[in-house]
Amino acid sequence: MRIPSKLSADLKALFEPQVGVPPEVDRAVMDRAHKHFAPLQSGKGRRLRVHWSWRIAAAAAVVIFAFSLDLTKQTGPATDRFSLSETQATDIDQNGRVDILDAFKLAKHIESTGPAETEWDINGDGLIDRSDVDVVALAAVRLDKEVL
């Protein structure tokens, strides 16, 4: 199909950019873009990235090392007995001194299933049992006895 030359000229005039980009400007833009991204493509850019990777790795190592010191620190011996700070030892025989005989008397009393004094529930769990004996015994061997 042939388009009339007048129609072709009109369409060209209608859709052609009004302001064209001169090739010099286009080249200048492209040159600046290449200059800007050139270091990342070059060996220097790779060195920079490696350099930063090592810095990050070193920082991570320092943080991990700091944490590992805490992780490897030897903790004190574990005990499944009661924390003495949460309980108060009782002088069962009321001789003014808390020693192993207090724990022993309490243990004997529990075994004999005789009437128990409510104040012998040393740990306050509502029961008078072996755990109360342990609390009294641990109070007896406690190194800092100024609280007793």
Partner: protein, 151 residues
């Protein structure tokens, strides 16, 4: 590159804690003049049954650390006795035990063994004091406490 960095980081994560722990162990065992010893504690209650005891041990001289406590020879005191865990790595300890069983020792019996770490060449001196000994009725009885050094 990222893969290599990840491998290095992972290696650091695993190696550093291991090295730190290793160096700590090396330090504790590589100190000059450190040795381990046992101290056997004996109690003589004469012809009375021994049902309970409590004593205190401390170093009068020398550098010691208490590192462990064992029970005694008689089955009434075979279990590990009571002691304050804070005494471990310390040079002072209070130890106590009792038995509500019927079979109780008489005479001289080993009631406990203490494991010690001794630093330096000086022979440590110990101060041992019996706080109380009791019979099956939980009454205080006279008794004599002694110790023997072991290896």
């Amino acid at each position: 590159m990222n893969k290599i960095t990840s491998i290095i980081l992972a290696g650091i994560c695993f190696i550093i804690p291991v090295l730190a722990q290793q160096s700590e162990q090396d330090y504790s065992t590589a100190q000059p003049g450190v040795r381990f010893a046992l101290l056997h504690i004996y109690l003589d209650s004469g012809n009375r049954d021994l049902a309970a005891y409590q004593f205190e041990l401390k170093a009068a001289a020398g550098q010691i650390k208490i590192v462990g406590v064992e029970g005694g020879q008689h089955k009434a005191f075979k279990e590990a006795p009571y002691y304050d865990p804070a005494a471990l790595a310390n040079d002072r300890i209070i130890i106590a035990a009792f038995s509500t069983g019927g079979d109780l020792p008489k005479g001289r019996t080993r009631i406990a063994t203490i494991h010690l770490q001794i630093a330096g060449d000086a022979e440590p001196q110990y101060e041992l004091k019996l706080t109380v000994a009791g019979n099956a009725e939980a009454k205080e009885i006279p008794a004599e406490i002694t110790f023997e050094k072991g290896e």
